[in-house]
Symmetry: C2
Subunit: 332 residues, 2 copies
């Protein structure tokens, strides 16, 4: 009797994992059923989001971290989120060379994913791909994103650990903090710390942290200086990640509980909630639109409506109301 794809994924079959993620990336009809089958077997992975401005050296850092985590006996999955041109849909894939370093290590699975045209498609696909690696038994999954836009923030904020990588000297240190990622960081990394301005970057993060209110026992994001190209600071970063995990694991299951001392559970519980809420919300809206366009409306009807809006014959709010009243059950 041959195994199903879900069963092969759960057995850690590398080709099955690759196939499963391709189905998810292509939004294949079978992807939802696959995720449904895998879902009860997930929830055991620590999901690490790594973000920061382009050129911060995230790829090299993730490579170094992969080596460090493997030495600790973890099994590792890496998802590299590659932005795609919004018009052509053609992915600009990351440097494939990086995969060669771990090519002979069966316990490391590295995969690039590209965004689809639709808003949120990338976050949705990344989330499902992480579930595949989770069900396949990877104890640690790193998601590396490029840039600090809303999509990246959406991906990284739903991880178990968010690492924000900055570089000294370009003004990006302070600017990146402005871009709304200050409060999603559990750990700050100042990479390329051999460069001028590394201490200034640290000071700049410190002074931003000083503005935040941290409760007693609450996790205050530490700042780790690294030089990914030489490996300097990577061991310290790995130790810091472990420290944060120990903190998180206290709340990995169950409801938030006030604790008399030690770490605050509030943030972790809030994050677990945010991740699942984001997924549900995103799936609902995505599937609603598919139903509207492919079942409720006739062929070409959606496009015709868009053309009427362009011609100012109907405003978008009224058009939306009309579709909603056709799609939804009448109020009782």
């Amino acid at each position: 009797m041959s195994l199903t794809l879900a069963e092969r994924v759960r057995a850690g079959d590398v080709r099955a994992m690759a196939r499963a993620i391709s189905l998810i990336e292509d939004e294949a009809a079978s992807a939802a059923g696959l995720v449904r089958d895998l879902f009860p077997h997930t929830g055991h992975t620590c999901l690490v989001g790594v973000t920061g401005p382009p050129g911060a050296g995230k790829s090299t850092l993730v490579d170094r971290l992969t080596a460090a985590t493997r030495e600790s006996g973890e099994t590792v999955g890496v998802i590299c989120v590659d932005p795609t041109s919004p018009f052509t849909g053609g992915a600009i894939l990351g440097d494939r060379l990086r995969m060669q370093a771990h090519a002979h290590d069966q316990q490391v699975f590295i995969r690039s994913m590209a965004t689809r045209g639709h808003m949120g498609g990338l976050a949705r696909a990344t989330s499902d791909a992480a579930l595949v690696l989770d069900a396949a038994g990877k104890s640690l999954v790193m998601i590396e994103t490029v840039g600090v836009g809303q999509d990246e923030v959406d991906i990284v904020r739903t991880a178990d650990i968010s690492i924000v990588v900055l570089v000294p000297g370009t003004g990006d240190d302070v600017q990146a903090l402005k871009a709304g990622i200050m409060e999603i960081a559990d750990i700050f990394v100042v990479n390329k710390c051999d460069r001028d301005g590394a201490d200034r970057a640290v000071t700049s993060i410190e002074s931003n942290l000083a503005l935040q209110a941290y409760g007693a026992g609450e996790w205050r994001p530490p700042i780790v200086k690294t030089e990914a190209t030489t490996g300097r600071g990577v061991a310290e970063l790995w130790a810091t990640i472990q420290q944060f995990r120990a903190h998180s694991e206290q709340v990995s299951a169950g409801e938030p509980q006030p604790v008399a001392s030690g770490f605050s559970r509030t943030n972790q519980a809030r994050r677990l909630k945010a991740r699942n809420e984001f997924r549900l919300r995103d799936l609902l809206t995505h599937r609603f639109m598919e139903l509207v366009e492919h079942e409720l409306l006739g062929a070409g009807e959606f496009d015709a409506l868009v053309a009427r809006i362009a011609a100012r014959e109907v405003d978008p709010h009224t058009a939306a109301s009309d579709i909603l009243s056709r799609a939804l059950r009448p109020k009782p």
Copy 2:
């Protein structure tokens, strides 16, 4: 008889415009009706999106452009998109100082907008705010965004003209191109062109453009070097914008038509369609979710479902299916 808010906006009343945008930003119940009233009177503005990595000098450039456009007799609106912390909801507002330069010019309206927690909220609000300035008779509206993430791309790709601002020397020139903004740019600006590496940045953009296929008569994004702090190159940039507008206005209304010579109309028509499609799609999903959470489901029911997903009792796909079958009319 007192005028309605929409009437006051159409008369160009600055306080009414500010009030209208605040209603939109706050997602007030009256905002949809306001946009509905204004919509038939819109479509006359040229919408200019300005994006690029943090620290590229976009604000200074937009200020300089504002002065240049005013000298040409345009009336100008500027919307500065400020990212917000996703957790606290508090806006980090841009430098208010910039507004003072044009404070005594009634024909310049400058407004900062912050993002809301929900995905896409910023693009939705920015779009509606642009309609307000359009209805108020501004002939040119500039939308300045920070960063090159999906949200920014979504905002800028729906503008009539997209300007991508890069700076030499940080490696951002090439990296930014990777981030999916290469093909949304109608005009590239290399700002801070007094810096080392300005020519290298231009060459790097050129070699990327060389990879694209441009049809005969199709717009090929020019590269303009500027030094916004001194005003150098701004006149050339303004002239380039005018050139692109002349091109666009040929297709401002009507269906795409093959033209024997001159500019291709395809891209502009596609863009007009994309803008209106994006708006309709976004409004539909946003309002669908509001109905699900506040009318279909009882108080606390959505949260309870999220908690069940977190506990792995139900997978998100099944949860979404259940809600959809409750919300939607049965298939005939």
